[in-house]
Symmetry: C2
Subunit: 299 residues, 2 copies
């Protein structure tokens, strides 16, 4: 661990010395860094962003943000108009000049990144890119936020939708039951989202389910991990968080069904203490059923 800390710090020093330039190149366009960042943020959503939105995303004081916006307006790069739905709010969007400016910033950042890669051979570049991909995934994994969200949160619905799309791809005979949006999430269930920089990269839910013996257990449903996040241990963390949720609801056990085609999932369950049990439901796409008892103290 101490070695890893030293490695991280050494890397960070070397990296920031070389890419600090990259950040400051925004200043090369004769604009303070904060203004450039704001321009980027306004441009990140195609239909503009509300001032409130920008404030939370950039973490700026409202007075400061207001002045920065005035500056970009004076430069003719953004346009702010009242929000028709709520006249107190204002939405900022890029002008044509603003979009051009954004492309220029993008071009410069690309050029700088290119100049850093240029001295390397093809195979070195590939090794570097691979290392950076790995490092990014793991650093994101380390700063992931797993939290509960209401069943009707649009992000929950969207994530479950992606889960269903994937399942539908694997079991092509499956379509009927999933076509109505209401069937995707259970209003009686509780859902967790894994967010990385505000982007949903994983979802999972539990819902109370009657067992053949008359008891009620928490059933894990709709567990999905973004393809680019597989192998990062996120599935395991989601599962553990769901188990905690179930325990805090007083459930004696967690159950789930799966299909043996999904090898990774199967091995996750057995590795984390699940034991195979007889069929407890009539899901036609399942061919394996698991159960894990929860310690009553937990939660």
């Amino acid at each position: 661990m101490q070695d890893d800390v030293a490695t991280l710090r050494r890397f960070n020093l070397a990296w920031s010395q070389r890419t600090g330039v990259l950040e400051h190149s925004f200043l090369g366009l004769g604009r303070p860094l904060a203004a450039s960042r704001l321009l980027l943020e306004v441009g990140s959503s195609p239909d503009g962003a509300s001032v409130l939105d920008l404030r939370t995303r950039l973490g700026l004081d409202s007075g400061y943000l207001s002045r920065l916006l005035r500056r970009l307006e004076r430069e003719g790069l953004v346009l702010t108009e009242p929000d028709p739905a709520d006249q107190r709010r204002r939405v900022a969007s890029l002008t044509e000049d603003g979009r051009r400016e954004l492309r220029e910033i993008d071009r410069r950042s690309d050029a700088l990144a290119s100049s850093l890669l240029m001295p390397l051979t093809e195979s070195q570049r590939a090794r570097l890119a691979e290392a950076l991909r790995t490092a990014e995934l793991l650093v994101r994994a380390a700063t992931l936020e797993i939290g509960e969200h209401p069943h009707d949160d649009p992000r929950v619905l969207a994530a479950v939708g992606r889960y269903v799309d994937e399942v539908a791809d694997r079991f092509s005979d499956l379509d009927g039951g999933f076509n109505s949006p209401g069937a995707l999430v259970d209003p009686g269930g509780r859902y967790l989202l894994a967010l990385s920089d505000g982007v949903v990269v994983g979802v999972g839910g539990i819902r109370p389910t009657p067992m053949p013996d008359g008891s009620v257990a928490a059933e894990v449903k709709r567990m999905w991990v973004d393809p680019s996040w597989r192998g990062s241990g996120l599935g395991r963390r989601l599962l553990e968080a769901l188990e905690q949720l179930a325990a805090s609801d007083g459930h004696p056990a967690v159950v789930l069904d799966t299909n043996r085609v999904l090898g990774e999932a199967l091995s996750l369950y057995t590795r984390t203490g699940y034991v195979e049990v007889p069929r407890y439901n009539d899901n036609p796409h399942a061919d394996a059923w698991f159960r894990k008892a929860l310690s009553p103290a937990a939660g």
Copy 2:
């Protein structure tokens, strides 16, 4: 290449968002960032640093630097005294309090790096550290400076010394000829250093050498790459730079001797166009001799 540029930029964004905090934690000690950086820089050399030195290393305006130093002096963290060798100059060094403060900054940086690694499993941490090591090596390789330095530059002598130590380890019967410092570098030779952040990570030289056929060729001598830099392509780049140097001196060819024990070196030579030739000197530790003709236009 375009993909690699995008990967680099994505990584940089994710990384700087998470470690910007790390930088700003210096502010946590109630001191502006510039003052903390100055403190670090003063502390980096045990005997203190001249104001001139600090100015070039940090790239600061002399007036600004002066004020920052006064501030640290007021806080009792550094002490500046006139340089006995040149009374115009002043050298800044840490006080006992300054060293304590530096340790505190170090401790905090460690704690922050730890907190980033904490959520990861042991194996994830190891993977991340490995990726960061690779990325650091390659990024350093991309920003390496290879340049000529006088044969009596102390850094050249030190680097050649390390080369000799290593050779002496491999050929234990070798000691006599190398013991006098003067024998290590040839005043008639030209030497290249590879510098990463000012640290020597490789060396190589050429010197005119008479060939059996009466012509004179440039002989590559004292080529050495820091162990942590092997596999980064540095050897090849040094060799190419030496060839350019030889060509600019008007030499028709580059020659070198080596020993078959040094497999990596051997394969570098054959890969880059060297062909084996008969013995051209009486080096008792060599058992292979190579030659590469230079195109007269080059240089």
